[in-house]
């Protein structure tokens, strides 16, 4: 006979809805982030308080950086005997959409996943999320900017939570030299969703016995971030730490500040040798000055005052078309193109004192520690001949012997110790070859291309300003070094010739924008070819 269980003595009815239910907690994290540690801490606290606790996870291969869900159920202590039922509460191994009391996400996109899967719902869930981003592989590999919109994720979190606690818990943990599980546990405690005292959580951390002091400090930081808001009753209680400022917002603010200064004292935004040119920007429309001043500094540093003047002249020519938006776009892209990355400029960037300082800060090197910096360089024959005066460069470019010698030296790349006497001397010497640049092969080539680009913009601006702006933006596909740059140049050439043939069509600008996106969609130009074929 099967084991016969007694019949229900009380009408079980809707006991779930009368509150006879476990507290449900879902933790969404990436493998290796400590989501399991967080779940275990919560269980330890709950068991310490006499709750029945159950946690499950689906580790599997997800433990290797993949998205993972840990699920915890905590059932309050059961008084005495359970008439006619199982002695222990029957707990579930799955979070049920719409029935999760507390969702903890270690990262903002994982929070989005919790919302998407229906774990976080506005009628029930306290949603604690860290606002930091760990970019997914498709966001990272995009040739341009493939990042998803952070504010869309935050909005979703707000819509899906009864109460939202959003804060950069990774940064809090980092400040205390701890891990995110500790600051998130603090937030869990601080949110007050679980019926346990702060000290119980802290005891669990102490009992775990690893990195206790930093963990407790991070816990405390997380606790304060999530402590219940003042009892102003709004439909959704939201505790959002300093809302993450998007990079664009930050840049916009800085630009606004600079625009103010540029209106009265443009010379203060450039070095002393460029002061005269800076004053000249007062002739330009207010909206473009800040960008042009950036360009002056950049071109001046890249070459000299004459080169900066040439930059300004080019911008003034575009400004005469009378389209401020176009002028800003050109001023920006022109500065970047005129300062194309050649070996001389890279050497300069590597040699700057502030760069050496930044590297040390980034490596968190203290005064007592020594640091060495090794560059991974692999100058190609073309890159070397490109920087040499035209005739010499062309001759060497043809020379098989030279190619073989350079090839031998740089085939496997070279690792240069910038912090050594020899290494620094080499780089600094390279950086000081600046005066040779205007006579180089590449310089001539780029100036010619820039000239043609500007001519085309001026020409098109007369009848289709939208298209002209898009042509200006085409410079963005010119990126990288060596083969990547060459590929960019091929894309650029294709885009510009498309722009010519698109002239006169009603939606030319939009079409060109789509083509530019296609150029940045893959590495081998398939998308662009396809898009061009579809015209």
């Amino acid at each position: 006979m099967p084991t016969l269980m007694p019949a229900p003595t009380t009408a079980a009815g809707a006991s779930w809805y009368a509150g006879q239910r476990p507290i449900t907690v879902a933790v969404l994290a990436m493998g290796g982030e400590g989501g399991g540690v967080l779940a275990d801490w919560i269980v330890a606290v709950a068991e310490g308080a006499g709750h029945h606790a159950q946690t499950t996870s689906v580790a599997g291969v997800a433990q290797r950086t993949g998205a993972t869900v840990y699920y915890v159920e905590l059932h309050p202590p059961v008084p005495g005997d359970v008439a006619g039922g199982r002695p222990e509460p029957v707990l579930s191994v799955f979070p049920a959409p719409g029935e999760v009391d507390l969702v903890v996400a270690s990262e903002l996109m994982e929070c989005g996943r919790a919302v998407q899967r229906g774990f976080a719902t506005p009628d029930r869930t306290t949603l604690i999320t860290s606002t930091n981003r760990v970019y997914s592989i498709d966001e990272k590999s995009h040739l341009g900017d493939g990042r998803v919109d952070t504010s869309a994720l935050l909005d979703a979190a707000g819509k899906a939570a009864k109460r939202l606690v959003a804060e950069d818990f990774a940064a809090i943990a980092g400040r205390h030299g701890s891990v995110i599980s500790a600051s998130l546990l603090g937030a869990v405690a601080g949110s007050g969703v679980l019926p346990f005292a702060r000290s119980a959580y802290e005891d669990a951390i102490r009992a775990a016995g690893k990195g206790v002091e930093p963990s407790l400090a991070a816990f405390s930081g997380g606790f304060d971030a999530a402590a219940p808001p003042r009892p102003t009753s709004v439909p959704v209680d939201i505790t959002i730490g300093p809302r993450p400022v998007s990079p664009q917002e930050r840049k916009d603010r800085e630009e606004a500040r600079r625009t103010e200064i540029a209106a009265t004292d443009p010379a203060s935004l450039v070095g002393p040798d460029l002061a005269g040119l800076a004053v000249g920007t007062l002739e330009l429309p207010r909206a473009v000055r800040s960008t042009v001043l950036h360009g002056l500094v950049r071109t001046g540093l890249y070459q000299d005052v004459d080169y900066a003047r040439r930059y300004l002249d080019r911008v003034v020519r575009i400004a005469s078309c009378g389209d401020d938006e176009l002028t800003v776009a050109v001023a920006r892209q022109l500065a970047l193109w005129m300062c194309y990355q050649d070996t001389i400029h890279v050497a300069l960037q590597k040699c700057r004192a502030r760069r050496m300082e930044r590297v040390r800060t980034e490596a968190k090197a203290t005064r007592a520690q020594l640091s060495r910096v090794h560059e991974y360089l692999h100058p190609q024959v073309d890159e070397i001949t490109d920087t040499l005066p035209v005739r010499l460069g062309a001759a060497l470019r043809r020379s098989r012997l030279f190619a073989r010698v350079v090839g031998r030296v740089t085939k496997d790349g070279m690792v240069l110790d910038t912090t050594s006497v020899r290494g620094y001397a080499m780089l600094a010497t390279m950086a000081r070859m600046r005066p040779l640049r205007p006579r180089s092969l590449r310089f001539a080539r780029e100036q010619e291309a820039i000239g043609a680009w500007l001519d085309l913009i001026v020409e098109i601006a007369a009848d289709d300003p939208d298209l002209a702006r898009e042509v200006a933006e085409c410079q963005r596909v010119l990126k990288g070094y060596g083969a990547t740059w060459e590929h960019g140049m091929e894309s650029y050439t294709a885009l510009v010739s498309a722009a010519r043939s698109l002239r006169g069509r009603p939606s030319a600008a939009a079409t060109l924008a789509d083509l530019r996106a296609a150029a940045l969609a893959d590495e081998d130009g398939t998308a662009l070819k396809g898009a061009l074929a579809g015209l």
Partner: protein, 729 residues
């Protein structure tokens, strides 16, 4: 050494009768084995039962005290064959592996074992890797139980129930002379809960005692005529004996339900009981202690199905529903046969109302039961939870609150500093020169190469079958030599014979890559034959290349530093360009699994720092001004520590590459930049703790030299850059 140490938890295995253990499912199973007087244990690691093997490995002291033999079996087939010890001898033996993949491998031995039957209890603990988080094909182990007539226990996800099932499993096995499967679903293995312990039991007979007193009975050996007799025995003796034991011990459970619900009933696999009860709670038909108003028959034994119990339960019921996860619907089909044969008119529902396949989550079961109950006993459905609402209802949990395209997939990938990454970077770069090759992949971390950014690998045919999977496509004569990938785990599991031996014998032309990272890394860092670790209990340090050469491979290269991308790339190119028909070529790519290495190195480092010794820490970086944000480096690496960040340049908007603090300085970024001729943005910073006196002096001199040599450049910059910018910097 395994990735996770259970040294602390293992102490709990010593707890005696009456003490309560709060542990993970896996540890509970181990304790249950000790309480059952098991004489020997074997198995092969793999999620979700890897930890069972790790716990046993860490518990060697306790096992020794009890004279229990424990082996890390070479494969699941080895583990299953180990149960041969229980055929003639009254020894209790348990083995464990991931299922159904492990059961596939083990099925030859299991079929032979099941044919002759057992004297001592033989328990096969299956980690059923099905549903979310699973890494394998979605199939059921149930089929193996049916085909070999081994009994299948499916305890509910509750630690006490699981512990009881282990003990009952041995008894059932002995009562019916049949090996028994104990199925632990993925989530049950990682379930945390509590149970009351019993004392550990020393096996009444140890393996040593058994070996010293050999026994044999020719009628237990699978060869005619005994094999024909075995089949009859299974049906005439063992099956009825099993049914008798199951009924006498009340292994299955019946909840009679409320009087008004006697018309209907639910039959459920034990493993799904908790989910079913939660569904009933949500529908207002049960409570948190399982006091269901609907009659429920809980099948803690899912094979064999006990006909009499099913008929008793279904008697006088208008309709019942079978809650059975996965497909095919073996149990449902079985119930149909039972009911029809008995002339029952009870309607049987199952996969017509529940999902035909896939994991039975709370959501799936609630929807199916809601349909069933609403049809037959609508008055009993006291509540309708939110998850029943359609997505177009704004109060539904599935109402779209986030745009689908902002939540991107996040598949598992290679860890920071993984030594396998540069192998695939090198292969990808080599293919840029030679064009694409057919790549036959295998099971292991290296399989992650099928995803972005590598996109390498066309098929995976099973553990250690990478080389075998390339057999047909590596016939001599093709321009593009086929490549196969295998891990060291797969190589020793069976790849040495099924892949390497096969390729030699059949004069295959493939390039066989064996990724040798010192451990069976994907399953949690267990040691294998070629591990470099010195271990007391296992014999290691047997080189892969030597084994392959022993089988007749002549072209073999071992690269002992995979991080040298250029060398990896050149090695591939050399292999690709070798003249056609030169036979199989073996490339052993050897570097230690970084996850395991870091655990080792971090400790060594902190010890050295404590002693005030010189320590060098390496990490990579990207110069933000030099990086133009094309992310070519990411597309050839995919390292979690190599990511993107806001572009600090006011004139640029596309994000630039950056290296996070989690960088372990493996060197792949720099080597990739070289091998792929990327950009000059990468640099390596060596931070030296406790530098020597000479180093410090040289450092001071260098700083002064750098200041001097850079003066002209800084002067030029000072003429061009505004003061504020410099100050800010």
């Amino acid at each position: 050494m395994a990735e996770r140490s259970f040294a602390a938890e293992v102490a709990k295995l010593r707890l005696g009768a009456g003490e309560t253990l709060h542990v993970e499912g896996i540890l509970a199973v181990t304790k249950a084995l000790l309480q059952s007087g098991v004489a020997y244990v074997g198995g092969y690691q793999g999620a979700p039962i890897s930890h069972l093997m790790d716990v046993l490995g860490d518990a060697s002291e306790i096992l020794d005290e009890l004279d229990i033999r424990f082996e890390n079996s070479a494969s699941e087939a080895t583990a299953a064959a180990m149960l041969a010890a229980s055929v003639h001898q009254p020894l209790r033996g348990a083995i464990t592996f991931k299922s159904p993949v492990g059961t596939n491998v083990a099925s030859d031995a299991l079929a032979n074992l099941a044919s002759g039957g057992v004297t001592g209890g033989a328990l096969v603990i299956l980690g059923e890797d099905y549903g979310e988080g699973s890494s394998i094909m979605q199939e059921r182990s149930h089929a193996f139980a049916m085909k070999s007539q081994m009994w299948l226990l499916d305890p509910r996800p509750n630690i006490t129930a699981i512990v009881d099932a282990v003990e009952a499993g041995f008894e059932l096995s002995e009562a019916s002379n049949t090996p028994v499967f104990l199925e632990l679903r993925l989530r049950s293995c990682h379930l945390h809960g509590g149970f009351v312990a019993k004392d550990n039991v020393r096996p009444p007979m140890t393996v040593r005692e058994a070996a010293d007193a050999p026994r044999r009975a020719v009628d237990r050996i699978v060869l005619p005529p005994a094999s024909f007799a075995h089949e009859k025995e299974k049906l005439a003796d063992r099956w009825p004996a099993a049914v008798r034991f199951i009924r006498e011990r009340g292994l299955n459970e019946v909840f009679p339900g409320s009087p008004e619900a006697t018309d209907v009933g639910i039959l459920v696999q034990g493993g799904l009981y908790n989910t079913m009860n939660r569904a009933l709670e949500l529908l207002g038909c049960s409570d948190s202690h399982g006091r269901s108003r609907i009659p429920v028959y809980v099948m803690n034994v899912t094979y064999p199905v006990v006909d009499a119990e099913v008929l008793d339960f279904c008697a006088d019921k208008k309709a019942v529903i079978m809650v059975e996860e996965g497909q095919p619907d073996y149990i449902e089909q079985n119930l149909h046969a039972i009911l029809r044969r008995a002339g029952s008119i009870t309607t049987l529902h199952g996969k017509d109302l529940l999902a035909p396949g896939g994991e039975y989550t709370t959501q799936v079961v609630t929807r199916g039961l809601a349909d069933f109950l609403t049809t037959y006993v609508p008055d009993l459905v006291a509540a309708r939870p939110a998850l029943l609402r359609d997505a177009d209802d704004p109060t539904s949990p599935f109402a779209p609150r986030v745009a689908a395209d902002v939540v991107r997939p996040r598949p598992p990938g290679l860890c920071t500093g993984c030594p396998e990454r540069p192998i695939f970077s090198g292969l990808k770069l080599a293919e840029r020169e030679t064009g694409q090759h057919h790549v036959s992949a295998d099971i292991g971390c290296h399989l992650f190469a099928i995803n972005a950014p590598f996109d390498l690998g066309a098929t995976t045919m099973g553990y250690g079958l990478g080389a075998a999977g390339a057999a047909a496509l590596s016939a001599p004569g093709s321009e593009q030599r086929a490549i196969s990938i295998m891990g060291d785990g797969g190589f020793w599991h069976n790849g040495l014979t099924s892949g390497v031996g096969n390729a030699v014998f059949n004069r295959s032309d493939q390039v066989m890559v064996v990724v040798d990272n010192d451990y069976a890394a994907a399953t949690g860092g267990q040691d294998v034959l070629s591990s470099h670790a010195d271990t007391e209990r296992r014999s290691t340090q047997h080189p892969i290349e030597k084994a392959a050469r022993g089988l007749g491979v002549t072209n073999a290269t071992t690269i002992d530093h995979t991080y040298d991308v250029q060398r990896v790339k050149d090695t591939f190119l050399r292999a690709f360009r070798r003249k056609k028909g030169s036979g199989p070529e073996l490339l052993v790519m050897q570097s230690e699994c970084q996850l395991n290495r870091q655990r080792r190195v971090r400790k060594e480092r902190s010890d050295k720092l404590k002693r005030g010794e010189r320590v060098v820490r390496e990490r990579f970086g990207v110069d933000p001004e030099t990086c133009t944000g094309d992310h070519a480096c990411v597309r050839i690496s995919g390292c979690p520590s190599l990511t993107i960040t806001d572009n600090p340049d006011p004139l640029r908007s596309d994000p630039i590459a950056t290296v996070l603090d989690s960088c372990v300085g493996c060197g792949v970024c720099g080597n990739n930049a070289h091998a792929a001729v990327l950009c000059p943005s990468f640099y390596r910073t060596d931070v030296v703790d406790n530098p020597t006196r000479g180093e410090r002096l040289r450092g001071a001199f260098r700083s002064r030299w750098i200041a001097l040599a850079g003066r002209a450049l800084e002067r030029h910059a000072a003429r061009m850059e505004p003061v504020t910018e410099k100050e800010a910097a």
